[in-house]
Symmetry: C2
Subunit: 360 residues, 2 copies
């Protein structure tokens, strides 16, 4: 078997080795029933238990209040970009904060269904920061306010969330859900493609406050109303069984690690060590504003694109994959999600220091 | 490890054991890269190859003409029920053939987007037959004609397809795609949730003729236009990586078995033996009209509901799972998809004969 490289992919991203091992162990025989989880009915007791446990564990781990539902849907954040305004905009106005490439995608889809007001934008500085949450230009009668809690491409993250009063706050948390404790009760709806901190690609988690279910538009095709999935506990149609099962295993793993407090503390240490290295060097240049740096995606530049190409090639030779920045911005990006081991960060830092010595 | 039972689930359904074994074998180390297929970027070369091979193999195995595209989407047939009319109905008229529970679901969603004309219905006889394909009441200016090629609940299947002239023919083939050779060129669009003959839950295959891509409605949210996914080779957003990978393995398995001709001949033999047993008994009563019996879902009744409950309980004790008919109709349903082994059918027949002797 090939040695396991350090996996810095931005998503789909590294999964805990223990989770992969358990999935492998029981891939031909789930719950001692002699069948694979891949080939059992979603109406079976075995899958009903998987679905229920994943929902309960997510609520427990993420401290989701009782008046929220957890749904397991398909289509990723990309479908949520349309589903949110389809359900809640209904020709009205919504406030969006433009923090980067992913926020822009959400904004584009919202415009299909109503008026979009940009409450703040970081485009003036190439999305290197997050606008002040206290300084947003909010519309009093907006149907909702939408933010992107972490921008994987520019490497920024909200560290405080805006206070939107009675206006529902909606967040795309695809790339930082479960990286730290957050006040879920500030949000009316949170959505996240699973393929960073939650599990594999193919399932989207939606955490929705009960009162939002009453506001879903009428006349939508059944699959695109949140109400459909809430009423049927995510079993209106055949769910992505294996992906939900793996999300369940990841949640158990988080619990075994000591829960979100321990995960958060580990994430803060990992990121701090890496940013310290960047700050202590004239060779590496971090691209995100200090106050808004992401715990998950650490982005930086080298003195030249040639050196960046060399860095990527040599890091790959040293057993590190996925360090190339997004094709739209270039540079280097180290994605260090929950499952990324602290020792991996140390190895990267060592490699960076050696690379700097050899090339400056 | 528990003994592998005979898996008669209607879907998610039995997968070839060889496919499950290969998935297990390489679950921690895909392509000798040291990582799981579950945690690699969908933009990596490894996944690009998986995506391209699955598309090419499906075209080869199913004899899909060159002027068609194969797409891997999410949301199952249930989302396609809405996506088809959302893209092509646009307030116009479409003809639907009402063959059962699944056709009805498609009809319900089409009504959200335009006028639905029922070109024929089998509701008069409890969906026990398929209307004569030559006798449909077709609308000359319909945007398309929609059929459900196999009804899993009532156990009927189209054996000849209607001739719709210039009007595009659209089919939900979720439960019988790849069970036999069909003239794909008769269809403008075929869709299928993977979880019966193609792979696990979580991916939907769409086979769409090039000219249909020109007809997709404007102004849809990006994810819901077929054009988006065709233009990006199913990589517009993060695809359900593992499900597509497994579909690829199932397609290789079909090729290794001798292709669709061999699969079809095996399916016809399996179904023939089972229907022969039903026809030769006064105890078991097949529910579908002889001419329209499904190769995939064999539905039958026993003299009483008490005997049916006993049959299900005893078959379960004898190592057979999933024989209970759909909750909406009751009775017995033996789903014998491609991966279901011929010996399994023999075992069921033996069990049935013994059960009849003991209970008649």
């Amino acid at each position: 078997m090939a040695e396991r490289p350090l996996n810095f992919y931005a998503g789909p991203a590294i999964l805990p080795l223990e989770v992969l091992r358990q999935a492998r162990e029981e891939l031909l025989d789930f719950n001692n029933n002699g069948l694979s989880i891949l080939e059992i009915s979603h109406r079976s007791k075995d899958y009903a238990a998987v679905n229920a446990a994943a929902e309960a564990d997510l609520k427990e781990v993420f401290s989701v209040p009782d008046n929220y539902r957890v749904l397991f849907l398909q289509g990723g954040a990309s479908l949520q970009f349309g589903m949110v305004p389809m359900n809640f905009l209904q020709g009205g106005k919504a406030d969006y904060v433009n923090t980067g490439a992913w926020a822009k995608k959400a904004i584009k889809e919202a415009k299909v269904f109503g008026q979009v007001h940009i409450a703040a934008s970081a485009e003036d500085k190439n999305f290197s920061y997050v606008p002040d949450p206290a300084g947003l230009d909010l519309t009093p009668d907006a149907r909702y306010v939408h933010i992107t809690s972490n921008e994987t491409i520019s490497g920024t993250q909200w560290n405080r969330y805006p206070d939107t009063g009675d206006v529902p706050l909606v967040a795309d948390m695809s790339s930082d859900i479960l990286c730290r404790k957050i006040p879920v009760e500030k949000f009316a709806l949170i959505y996240a493609g699973a393929q960073k901190n939650l599990g594999p690609a193919g399932v989207t988690v939606v955490i929705i406050r009960d009162d939002m279910l009453e506001l879903c538009a009428e006349g939508l095709t059944t699959m695109l109303s949140y109400r459909t999935h809430a009423e049927k506990d995510s079993l209106y149609n055949t769910p992505p069984v294996f992906s939900v099962y793996l999300v369940g295993l990841v949640l158990k793993w988080i619990k075994n690690q000591g829960g979100l407090a321990e995960i958060e503390s580990r994430n803060r240490e990992k990121a701090a060590r890496l940013y310290e290295t960047l700050d202590g060097s004239d060779f590496f240049r971090p691209t995100a504003a200090k106050k808004d740096r992401s715990l998950m995606n650490v982005t930086f530049r080298l003195p030249s694109e040639e050196l960046e190409a060399k860095f990527i090639a040599e890091s790959s030779g040293a057993g590190m994959v996925g360090l190339k920045g997004h094709r739209s911005v270039g540079g280097i990006r180290a994605s260090i999600y929950n499952a990324f081991p602290p020792e991996g960060v140390d190895k990267l830092i060592e490699f960076m220091k050696n690379f700097e010595k050899a090339n400056s």
